[in-house]
């Protein structure tokens, strides 16, 4: 049964554009399809694809953005994961990390569990919730020509920024990142802190 979303953008094309010419970008991906998407573009030491902790992606991004204020931090997650951690938008708005961006790939469905509809398919407006929380830069992205400007905004460091990207509800081939969490953590730390990261 084909699942319908109000969005038409292709998720991996969006992620490919967002991660192009990534420079110093640090990426946290919510569990499920966003983790497969960032890995499909190319696994990277500065990617932390999550295997669990549903609802935590934005909070992890906050801790990382506060620890590394000179580097852009991008959280890429899904609508179901963002809804579960929605209060973190208020925490982020109050903490005001200028280098943190949150991009929600909104397909209006729980993709890993049988494509049940999320609340966003019934009119719940994540961008309005982010705006209400007090996130200063908020957008809803529906067309391809808005994606490259979003990539540029992520690198500007004038956030926190929140973007809801309306995507097609397609299910794509799984591209799995490493499952060993200690490796995923250690490689990002080493890429930021050098070998000293393991000697603290």
């Amino acid at each position: 049964m084909a699942m319908k979303s109000s969005g038409t953008l292709r998720r991996r094309e969006v992620v490919s554009t967002l991660l192009s010419d990534r420079g110093e970008l640090l990426v946290i991906a919510g569990l499920g399809a966003p983790a497969w998407d960032i890995t499909a573009i190319g696994d990277h030491p500065r990617n932390l694809p999550l295997w669990g902790g549903m609802g935590s992606a934005a909070s992890i991004g906050l801790g990382l953005a506060l620890a590394q204020p000179s580097k852009p931090v991008l959280v890429i997650t899904g609508d179901g994961e963002m809804l579960m951690g929605i209060g973190s938008l208020a925490t982020i708005a109050v903490a005001k990390p200028a280098n943190l961006s949150i991009v929600v790939l909104d397909n209006e469905h729980y993709g890993e569990t049988g494509m049940q509809q999320t609340h966003t398919g019934f009119g719940v407006d994540l961008a309005a919730m982010a705006r209400g929380a007090g996130i200063p830069r908020v957008s809803t992205v529906r067309t391809e020509n808005e994606v490259a400007p979003l990539r540029a905004a992520i690198h500007e460091g004038s956030g926190p920024l929140f973007a809801q990207v309306k995507i097609d509800a397609e299910s794509l081939k799984l591209v799995l990142p490493p499952r060993e969490g200690a490796l995923l953590q250690a490689r990002m730390r080493e890429s930021l802190l050098g070998a000293e990261a393991h000697l603290v």
Partner: protein, 178 residues
């Protein structure tokens, strides 16, 4: 009614000094009266990012992010908040992340409010079931050495740890029915 522990025992102020000695840069919290002195000190310190949360589980995510970026963090909460963290504690086990928690107990010793008892009674069991190393401090003189020990074990052995500060130390809130 102010339930903040009097600083006469010295431990709330000494806990702040301990966080500084351990180079803690991010302090996440959902307020509790027992932590009010420490929270005030952390907010006032420009070298500490004091982050007020909407729910304690955000603090688990924040501690993972801080460690990824090379900063040490700690989570302050009341025992009821431990219940909000259960699934998120998977993150610290999976990634081997230092996640020290300082928990002020309710439902623990002379509790008045029946709603506090189920979670207070289960706090240690729940934390340990999720792989957190737990130590208790039930006397004022134990608070600082116990928090010091659990901070060391978090950062030296890469895992979630918790000090539970007993209600015997904090005093039980009586809602005016002394």
């Amino acid at each position: 009614m102010d339930m903040a522990p009097a600083d006469t025992d010295g431990w709330p102020g000494a806990l702040f000094d301990l966080l500084k000695a351990h180079d803690i840069r991010q302090v996440a919290f959902v307020p509790d009266a027992g932590h009010s002195h420490l929270i005030r000190r952390c907010i006032a310190d420009p070298a500490i990012k004091a982050i007020s949360l909407t729910t304690e589980e955000e603090g688990i995510g924040l501690m993972l992010g801080a460690w990824l970026g090379g900063e040490r963090s700690v989570l302050l909460m009341q025992s009821s908040g431990v219940g909000n963290c259960i699934n998120m504690l998977s993150l610290g086990i999976l990634h081997r992340t230092p996640m020290p928690m300082i928990v002020t107990m309710r439902g623990d010793f002379g509790e008045f409010n029946p709603a506090q008892v189920p979670m207070g009674n289960a706090t240690q069991t729940v934390l340990e079931a999720m792989g957190t190393l737990v130590r208790r401090a039930d006397h004022a003189s134990d608070v600082v050495p116990t928090v010091d020990a659990t901070l060391r074990m978090a950062f030296n052995t890469f895992r979630p740890t918790a000090t539970l500060i007993g209600q015997r130390v904090l005093g039980a809130k009586t809602f005016g029915k002394d």
